[in-house]
Amino acid sequence: MKLTKGKINELLTQPGCEHNHNKEGQTKNKSCTQQAQPGSAQGGCAFDGASIALVPITDAAHLVHGSIACSGNSWNSRGSLSSGPMVYKMGFTTDLSENDVIFGGEKKLYKAIAEIIKKYNPAAIFVYSTCVTALIGDDLDAVCKAATNKYETPVIPVHAPGFVGSKNLGNRLGGEALLQHVVGTKEPPYITAYDINLIGEYNVAGEMWGVLPLFKKAGIRVLAKITGDARYEEVCTAHRAKLNVMICSKALINMATAMKERYNIPYIEESFYGIGDMNRCLRNIAAFFGDEALMVRVEEIIAEETAKLDVALAPYRERLKGKRMVLYTGGVKSWSIVSAAQDLGMEVVATSTKKSTEEDKARIKQLLGEDGIMLEKGSPEELLRVIEKTKADLLVAGGRNQYTALKARIPFLDINQERHHPYAGYVGMVEMARELDEAVHSPIWRQVRKAAPWEIWQQEHESLLNLEAE
């Protein structure tokens, strides 16, 4: 794949993504094409995004062609779990030296690929270009092609050097690599009438394992997981699914739209968070297949699971009722967590809309009601201001904001990539309730907010002390 400006623009302005339509539907929304601002930009680069999208393929080796920062500072740090192979957790890098920068790194890369195949025999190798190797012009495609031919192991180039853009774009570039080199290269051993792909679910904290049993019970087969706990081969066969289910993210929407064009596979967007969303997800899939028996099975599962949940959640609902939450997260989660929180009787007093589409925003408005605050910006200062203003009991946000909350002595729950607790599906709901309860009702808050006895004494005697000073 040649990484041209045209290709990048195409990825940034996916027609299926509502980010691209502002209210009048005339001009493009800026949020996707906007460049990072020097001095104030936060967050990862395209290489980071591509790794997030592809590293969850557990039986593949992931080789970073670049200097040490890209791999050395980041390997082994993502929360995607595996039910088997562990080769995806290893850090492979060409660790470019000054000499390589001057004379080129292609030979080194070829040798590195050969060594991985010999020693670790992975199902495939994903080779990531990075800023330095893109800049010096190493021909990744040629090296990968030569290695694939020689060793008969798929070696896939991923063109997502950090400087081309954000993490989000990197996700899509990762998807492009799958579309071009992986999807459609193998036939599944067998197919069923109810084959689906899950797209954009990375099995963070093992979240997927709380949901897969539900599909199995209903008789829906997940043909390919793209890419949480995936094996390389299942992604190869993804083109034979009947339906693509995009989970909680528009990050890989280019895959869904391309697969619709190429293989005529329709897609729907669903969420696994909250009772309502999980119910809707199962019902929508069943409705898509239009099979009476399937719909009945799904209704049975929903009835059974929600009944169980009502019992499990009862004590938490009691304790969390009326607690006020400020939510700061991206995109779909900004409303899907709102409904999950409301399931628990909590009040969401503010939520972010920074990465939300118009459709997301409309839903948020409906869910929050009149007094709800929609946060456009999410600087730490702004978050703290809103928390103070709304007298919120806790902040629910991504790990990056953890210390914003804790340093201000405010209860915090991590909702994004890096967390260790699975919140998806019905079982995840209980986990989330437990974590929210722990966060809000921990006995520590009184202690960390308490002034020292001498500070209290000083405050009480301030007038006296001032008098003395005079």
Binding site: P38, C45, D48, N76, G91
Partner: protein
């Protein structure tokens, strides 16, 4: 003498090494009111930030010039300028640490020229120190980047005192203490209190003990709230001696000698009875050497340190049973490797394998025949049969595969608490190390003892 093996490999598997910019940022974070600025793509900063946040469990101020494809081709001047202006406007730092990355070094951005232009265009920034350092990712490791940043910090001229900023006056003699990357915030804190106990005023460079130690402030903040101050850096000429802790600090000490004529001494390590004895003995002579030699002062070692020394001797006695003859394999950066390997050897343990990240003269004096500049896969090959592995958190998987316990040292450590305050230097820190490791070795022995087998 130790042979340094530096195999030229095409593939690094499970890297031990972290990047120079990350090291430089860490050093910069030991200055007060600091905002480190990475000149590179935004990912360079994001990755470094994640590493430091997970290690210290602190919010870490770092920023980026957010280089793009276009600016990479056309040059990054505008991005540097815009980033500095935005940072000054938003965060109001007292000092900026500007560091390069692999991207901008490959491009060849001339930082001296860029900064000169920014300075000329913006006279309003005249009083803001900007410390610039070159740290390409494709050379060296965290320790090298950290060291380069310290060299820049001590080489920078911070100008005269501002009118509203009076120089601090102290009757006590001032010493400059250069702290290598192997010292944690807790180590720096201990070191500082030891130096103070001898009636001296230490200027710690950098002072991580005030910025990354983990403490609650009353108000939210966006730059470091503690660390070496610019005022302290302006009066480095007053120090009567430079104490360089860690071999990597030698060149920085020489820079100070060149600028101010300050004599220096290098202490390659500060753990273990001999090393701490020598350090304290030297400290005690700073005061005695200043008195009239007709009326010599008796060297005065603070009572609590004398007491700690006797405690340490007792701890050495108690713990040596578990160390004797044990085979230990280490993968650490050079200064930390040197300190740890010698301490273990002094306790009767054997160093089975040593892997490190980068070249250093100190590697030639390790208590082992060979040291490999390599990665954790090298350690795994060499460490089979060890009783203990010492490396960072990435060693968890290999320690399981080798069925040897892991003691975590170095960067990053993301699966353990208290890294902001852990102290492993001085008599007290040595005791802590012997307890930590001794307990691990004792537990291992218990696991394999006949009593548990039956």
């Amino acid at each position: 003498m130790t042979t340094v093996l530096n195999p030229q490999k095409s593939l690094s598997v499970n890297p031990l090494k972290m990047s120079q910019p990350l090291g430089a940022a860490l050093a910069f974070l030991g200055l007060k009111g600091m905002m480190p600025l990475f000149h590179g793509a935004q990912g360079c900063t994001a990755f470094a930030k994640v590493v430091l946040v997970r290690h210290f469990r602190e919010s870490i101020p770092l920023s980026t010039t957010a280089m793009t494809e276009v600016s990479t081709i056309l040059g990054g001047e505008d991005h540097v300028e815009q980033a500095i202006l935005t940072i000054v406007d938003k965060y109001k730092p007292q000092v900026i640490g500007l560091l390069t990355t692999g991207l901008t070094e490959t491009r060849g951005d001339d930082m001296g020229r860029i900064l000169k232009i920014v300075r000329e265009k913006h006279p309003e920034l005249a009083s803001l120190p900007i410390i610039s350092v070159s740290t390409p990712d494709y050379k060296g490791s965290l320790q090298d980047g950290y060291t380069a940043a310290i060299e820049s910090i001590v080489a920078t001229d911070y100008g005269p005192f501002a009118s509203d900023e009076p120089p601090t006056v102290s009757m006590k003699p001032q010493v400059t203490v250069l702290c290598s990357s192997h010292l944690s915030p807790g180590d720096v804190e201990e070191l500082k209190s030891i130096v103070e106990a001898f009636g001296l005023t230490p200027v710690m460079i950098p002072d991580l003990s005030r910025s990354l130690d983990g403490h609650l402030e009353d108000n939210p903040h966006t730059v470091t709230t503690g660390g070496t101050t610019i005022t302290q850096l302006k009066q480095l000429n007053r120090s009567c001696l430079t104490l360089a802790i860690g071999e990597s600090m030698r060149k920085s000490a020489q820079i100070l000698e060149g600028r101010f004529g300050t004599k220096y001494e290098v202490f390659p390590r500060l753990a273990g009875l001999d090393a701490v004895d020598a350090f304290l003995w030297r400290l005690s002579q700073i005061l005695t050497s200043r008195c009239d030699h007709h009326f010599p002062l008796v060297p005065n070692i603070p009572a609590n340190l004398q007491r700690q020394r006797r405690q340490l001797q007792d701890v050495i006695l108690d713990t040596h049973f578990y160390f004797g003859g044990k085979k230990v394999s280490l993968a650490l950066e050079p200064d930390l490797l040197y300190q740890t390997a010698w301490l273990l050897t002094e306790m009767g343990a054997k160093i089975q394998a040593a892997v490190t990240t980068t070249k250093s003269p100190i590697l030639e004096s390790l208590p082992i025949d060979n040291v490999t500049i390599g990665d954790l896969a090298d350690l795994e090959d060499l460490a089979a049969g060890s009783d203990l592995i010492i490396t960072n958190s990435h060693g968890t998987a290999l320690s399981k595969r080798l069925q040897a316990p892991l003691y975590r040292m170095g960067y990053p450590i993301f699966d353990q608490l208290g890294l902001g305050q852990r102290c492993l230097v001085g008599y007290r820190g040595t005791m802590q190390f012997l307890f930590d490791v001794g307990n691990i070795l004792m537990e291992e022995e218990a696991k394999h003892s006949p009593a548990t087998l039956h």
